[in-house]
Symmetry: C2
Subunit: 317 residues, 2 copies
């Protein structure tokens, strides 16, 4: 959970911070509540950018569309998508509940039953877009249902294009991913597969079925759209005042993170200062920087990073 | 469930039959019991060849080895492997039970708990081989655990080779699949992903991690080893008597099946006669044969196929 610090030029004593993570599966409000409890200080939801937060930007296009939402346990991501404002949501659990034969060999036995009338109605409407909000809890089922939509006739689940059309026409619906991470770290000694690996499987099967490359959009660090979204969040917290010349000043932003490929790569290419801690994905015995994505500075832990930043900022004054 | 018919040259009135299927997940005895009930006639287990039946041939090599067995719900494939004679079996459920962090996001909540002492011991021994006995019920978990073994240091789960070794050394353990089917048919209007698609994902991730192609062995129709195994089963049911010249006569075998790519392709390339029914994967409105794997004859259904065979055989006499 990297920490992003900046301050408004109108109030130089007030350092602002946000949390920018490739995690998700809960709302920003829920995550803020979890962090407030963990740190013992109140953290407001407008300081939280989750992997799927930038998917709010898809709302104008898909507000009234029928969206297949993948990821998370039970209906957690349905709730997030509803909170974002999407009106018609279908989940693989619901498709599976309506048609058990869609995925006959699966552990998913906690699928909703019976489905509400409006859930059933959306399950039977053509899918307009697939959005992967979080890690899949059942790859076999979710790969199947996502690909069913991608190769269907016009998004209608239970149909498939003719073999000629499969090879010559564009994929039936667009697909969005919230997080590009191939692997992520937890307490297991070897990194675990993330949403990027799920996408890799999906692309491979799509290529086999159609001979074509899957077209997709990915959000999350180190992707540019996520940093642009983070900028819009910082704009609200620490508005920039135009200089007398009318020019908008450059904001100084410090990103503290543990993952060179996500946190440091993203911050560096977005023109932010980057602080790499040694308590997560990146480990080093000395103070050597990362060989591919070197940070502005390598520090022991978050507290050290904050100290480093404050020292640098105070030297400016 | 294709039907294979033959007869012994020593007893021309006695047509023998076996069932040769890419299904599995239960023992041959259990499948025989299910079919006996379904058809209302006693069918003995020695007439059943399941996708994993030829994996009995791996027993001499792996009897005392530590085998990671993938596929099927709960411990169904563990039971089959035990029945075949494998002494040390580890399943992904057991790995997950011992180390929940191996696959933190998963529905598999019916994992065995607590593990028996000998299960725990095998979970901690290096894996010697991976055997996919049946369709995975949790692709995310099973891809993770299988790949953990394939890129581990000497088969030890929880270790991973150094990045240089990953690219330059051979995969850590061999892997066997019981069934090559990319898709299979059930009542859903579009074919469902089978073990072949699971393998496709596994190969893709392995390639990403190592830069190398996965080496593997596959059993099941239309693979040659499965037909050789079926021959050995037919040998027991309908022994061939040597001709006066000492020559072993050619056996006439009829294979009735619905899948051109598995049943008909396999039978044709093994020198068997093939009868393609129109009640399963293959559908046609007229009597047109399959364009890639044409059968000896196309018939409406199994009864028609048997009639066709008997007519042909009686004409010989």
């Amino acid at each position: 959970m990297p920490l992003i610090l900046t301050r408004s030029n109108s109030n130089s004593n007030n350092v602002k911070y946000i949390f920018l993570t490739n995690g998700g599966g809960v709302s920003e409000a829920k995550k803020a509540e979890q962090l407030s409890k963990k740190f013992g200080v109140p953290i407001s939801p407008d300081r939280i950018v989750l992997s799927h937060s930038p998917m709010r930007s898809l709302l104008p296009k898909y507000r009234d569309a029928n969206v297949l939402v993948i990821g998370g346990k039970k209906s957690s991501c349905r709730q997030v998508a509803e909170e974002y404002g999407f009106k018609h949501i279908v989940t693989p659990e619901e498709v599976h509940a309506a048609y058990p034969s869609v995925c006959p060999i699966s552990y998913c036995e906690d699928r909703p039953s019976p489905l509400a009338e409006e859930q059933l109605r959306d399950v039977h409407r053509p899918i307009d877009a697939v959005m992967v909000f979080h890690d899949s809890v059942d790859w076999g089922r979710d790969l199947q249902v996502a690909l069913d939509a991608l190769v269907s006739k016009g998004g209608s689940l239970g149909t498939i294009k003719d073999s000629q059309d499969l090879k010559t026409t564009k994929q039936s619906v667009p697909i969005y991913f919230s997080n590009p991470d191939i692997v992520w770290s937890n307490e297991y000694p070897v990194p675990r597969f993330g949403q990027g690996t799920f996408k890799m499987c999906l692309e491979r099967i799509f290529k086999h079925l159609t001979g074509q490359d899957l077209e997709y959009t990915t959000f999350g660090k180190p992707i540019k759209t996520t940093y642009e979204y983070a900028d819009s969040v910082l704009d609200k917290l620490a508005p920039l005042e135009r200089e007398p010349s009318g020019r908008l000043p450059k904001r100084t932003v410090y990103a503290i993170g543990d993952n060179p490929y996500a946190d440091i790569a993203g911050a560096n290419s977005h023109g932010w200062e980057s602080l790499l801690v040694k308590t997560g994905v990146f480990r080093t015995k000395n103070n050597e920087n990362h060989h591919i994505h070197p940070a502005t500075a390598v520090v022991d832990h978050v507290e050290d990073a904050v100290r480093w930043i404050l020292t640098k900022e105070m030297a400016k004054e």
